[in-house]
Amino acid sequence: MTMKIYGFIFVMWILILTGGGIVVELVGPISFSEDIEPIITSGVKVFLALFLIFIWVFTLTKIKNWIFKSQVKS
């Protein structure tokens, strides 16, 4: 079981590195035309960041259930 927890920590680390890459390379550079208010651009970025967090938590939940499926029953 302990090895599975080490594996889970490692997977979380990889997900953090990957998530960081998506934020910096895809979400950060997003910009619309000059006519659009900067607050709207920020709002879109916030929405995308929240969506990424949702995906991150969803993925972790799936991995958690897969790794610990024999032990985690509740």
């Binding site: 302990t2 927890i5 590195l17 960081g20 390379e25 920020s42 970025k45 032990q71």
Partner: protein
Amino acid sequence: MEEKIIAAIIVSAIAFVSIYAFTPILIKFLEKRNLTVKDANKKGNVMIPRPGGISILIGIVASEITLYFFFPISEILAIIITSILGFSVGIIDDRKVMGGWFKPVALAFCAAPILLLGAYDSNLDFPLFGSVKIPSLYLALVVFMIPITGNTLNSIDVLNGVVSGFTTIASFALAISLFILQNYEIGIACLCLAFASLAFYKYHKFPSRIFPGDSGSVMFGTMYGVIAIVGGVEVIAAIAILPAIINSFLFLSSVKKIVEHREIKNPTMHTDDFKLKSTDDNHAPITLVRLLVAKKPLSEKQICNEILKLTTFSGVLAIITAFMMGAKIL
């Protein structure tokens, strides 16, 4: 550089020695006033003094104020004030059991000094890819980060020596990361936390002579959080405490709401030889300890050692991440 080395040695010594010397006095003081709680994982009626957060406060404030004389920067002032506020929230919870939402909300207000002193940089740095500028979003991150770190470290305070040992390893990893990134002043501030928790671990390790209480564990968490923010190492700090984050994540994904830890069913039970084993109650929350004892019962000391080994692993990942901060792949 010489001044920084001298400052590092002096403040580390102040943090360590003051807690090492004051904690036995505090133990006697608390025992005299009958300020003790039952150690639930010991046979018989073993009573342990609490809260040890008072000696942690003295050590941390003394060392950080000394550091402020060396480097009078707003970041260190933010660390001192936020840590004291974190202790205040914890001591209220020690004296009176508050609802599940009290600590997150109160700790969010503890982030005010960071914002008021402007002790943050709104760039969020990621390894390998560089940084992203998020001025508005970063304010929300500051407000959320202190309750998250405060509660995360508080929730791992379940067995003798875990939270103090955990904080020692995580903060040494964070201090090394800050030195790698050449952020020396905040790195030294982090050393204060590392040596303070190390000195307290001497009395908190199995079998505990004192418990930190919420005041101690929440203060560890808030100070760790504020160092991560003012040092600009939020991602590295999160990686160093991944075992505690897993604990909170498992707990929240099984309970599905924020509750005070005293309100929940115990996820573990005792065997005849007083080892811990996973409970048969399917409605009890899943925690890191429950996972560790899922296969076979373990003693309290064995579980503590396993958690500290996991923390060392995540600390190594945090240091590797710090080295990756300088590298860019795109």
